[in-house]
Symmetry: C2
Subunit: 401 residues, 2 copies
């Protein structure tokens, strides 16, 4: 294990903590938001822009890179960091979620995977995500068989294959191969899938140990179990006993019980290893996740929303395409320290979006990522300053007013 995790301060009476996670490509101050760079690029930004707006770590998607350009090319390029010119810490997911949600179905025995309206799946993936649709993929004990969303070609991910691909991509932190069930799935199916996910966790770990000769890559196990307290706790118990370097919390929650479920899990997971809540990124979620012991979050929402003109402000979201901004010569948010707010007006952004100019996406993405990174950094600081509850009340009261 090449990850070092140090807790600097705990949130009194709660599971939350501020810490520092050390990776081969640098330190991450946690809690942290992980910026999504699906296809080895954070859409619309150079790596220098990503760094300058405060992103500490980038997550790419294994499913996408496997299909295009192929993990062999990333290996030949010297790995993800070198390929995409990002010097900081990196992660990849296991590819499972996208194989289920994007891979078209075929075969005689298919399991229906409805991504539904769960809190987790609303985030989806950066490109081609079909969060609200149902798709089909064939799942068996060995793994998941799917068709490429690009050309329909047939592929199979197994735990071993996922780990092999992730080692070729070569991020600092990678994930065990798991099954992300639908929130609509029955208890019986959730239980069956969870047992399989646990068997896949062991297989992922075995394959990882075989490949990780240089000990540069860290493997995070994933806790599943849907909305069920007993399954979530069983999963946390099982996964925490395996020799993982950290943990992901995946799957489907209802928005209402998400934080509770995260708390069930984090009370069991070992305190000294980092925890990543997969695919979550609304402002309110950071408070709920962090006070329940989450260290890392990733989500495409801030970047995808930005490209559609949706911008975060401390007074809530605005859409820059609204006619009232056409002659508004103020920045998106007065006092915001981001490059966009320091240099451009809402009138200019409004023009760029109407004119369908590429810089529209760039400037909006810079603002939203800066906003989210700063929010998570401010929550971290509030833990250090014994000020979490006040900051939470102040921020949420203003944002969701």
């Amino acid at each position: 294990m090449s990850l070092k995790f140090k807790i600097e301060k705990k949130l009194e009476g709660k599971l939350g903590r501020a810490g520092v996670l050390e990776t081969p490509h640098g330190k991450i101050k946690t809690p942290a938001f992980v910026t999504v760079g699906t296809k080895a690029t954070v859409k619309a930004l150079t790596p220098e822009q990503v760094r300058d707006l405060g992103s500490q770590v980038v997550l790419s998607n294994t499913y996408h890179l496997y299909l295009q350009p192929g993990d062999g090319i990333l290996k030949k390029a010297g790995g993800l960091n070198k390929f995409m010119n990002w010097e900081g810490p990196t992660m990849t997911d296991s590819g499972g979620f996208q194989a289920f949600s994007l891979g078209a179905a075929f075969g005689d025995h298919v399991s229906k995977i409805a991504s539904g309206e769960s809190s987790v799946s609303r985030c989806g993936v950066e490109n081609g995500g079909t969060d609200s649709s149902c798709s089909l993929a064939k799942i068996d004990e060995d793994g998941v068989t799917f068709s490429s969303h690009i050309d329909g070609s047939k592929h199979k991910f197994t735990p071993e294959k996922s780990i092999q691909i992730q080692h070729n991509i070569g991020a600092d932190m990678i994930f065990a191969f798991d099954e992300c069930t639908s929130p609509q799935a029955s208890y019986e199916y959730q239980k069956e899938a969870l047992d399989r996910t646990h068997r896949w966790a062991k297989r992922s770990l075995d394959e990882h140990k075989k490949l990780n000769k240089e000990n540069k890559i860290s493997l995070l196990g994933i806790v599943q179990g849907g909305r069920h307290e007993d399954l979530r706790k069983e999963s946390a118990e099982f996964i925490s006993k395996l020799d993982f370097d950290g943990f992901g919390i995946g799957g489907s929650f209802n928005k209402d019980d998400m934080y509770t479920a995260v708390g069930w899990v984090n009370e069991i997971l070992p305190e000294n290893k980092p925890r990543h809540l997969l695919g979550i990124g609304e402002p309110v979620d950071f408070f709920g996740g962090i006070e329940n012991g989450v260290d890392l979050f990733d989500c495409v929402a801030p970047t995808r929303m930005a490209r559609n003109g949706g911008l975060h402000t401390t007074d809530g979201k605005i859409n820059i395409s609204n006619a009232k901004f056409k002659e508004d010569f103020n920045p998106i948010e007065k006092g915001c320290g981001c490059y966009t707010c320091q240099n451009y007006t809402k009138a200019y952004l409004s023009h760029l979006f109407r004119a369908k100019e590429m810089e529209a996406g760039t400037l909006a993405t810079i603002h939203n990522l800066y906003f989210i990174n700063k929010l998570v950094a401010d929550i971290r600081q509030s833990i250090l300053d014994d000020n979490f509850e006040d900051y939470k009340k102040e921020f949420l009261g203003r944002y969701y007013n």
Copy 2:
């Protein structure tokens, strides 16, 4: 006149010269390539990226900004530089060329304006240019009536209106309103249009003097005359006698006689004022234009080509979408000093283009603009070093091999 132009060295036995053009927003070392930022943004780049790749001056299109967001918004924003966050020198064209080529026709008396296959019009404008098509606009003594290519609304540009719009936009250097004729037009029509352009030149100048109280904006007159030596010379004589701060050479040439025609004009134009060849930007054109006395060039070709995957190298153009680059881990050009070549491989660019990622356009545009800026800077240096002919032979021999 707020332009100061100083010739540092002349090309022996030819019309070419290396100089420095001083504007209210800084100095331009000439000859220089003017980067096109049609809608107050250089497509796919931030102003800092534009500056860092060596661009000295940006030209926006009056027709586009008038229609979207409207020159009134640019005026309220404090002018083009402030609106788009570009600190360096700026230009706008007169809007005439786009009104002819993009504005749809209506009215009872229409003149057919075929943009044809002339050397000039191949460059067109950054967005929505319809270089090879014919379009219709109504021209009369007063000006040009056209319909917006965005919403079909009816508009009229006159010399006075063009100058008023350009003053609202507020670039450092603006152009007189002219008619750019088709190369297919008859001699008689060319003559008629030229006389009208000369009357419009005077009207443009009168309006400019009325509006230019602060003496911050410089007006360049435009020489037309098509492929006809007598008309070109007549136009150069006429325009050079008016109180312009510099000159544009516009209109239609055949590729073969373009440099000759430019020479006819520049032998007549006063030596102490800058000359801009409108809409020209192929590598060979810089040599031909510069040795015939051109100081400034603008063209969308380098940026538009880049967004389509066409990249300049000293060994000629390549298309990055070619399958052979998929596993080519070299930069676009070894030894190239641009950000893209310093940090990315052809394999990565190839991936970004195949994946239709926004950074594909950004990285390719950075390379092409750097390449063109450096080429023109190297030609300038070869004039200073008495090495122009050798450099021309070497570059062209390799590029067009």
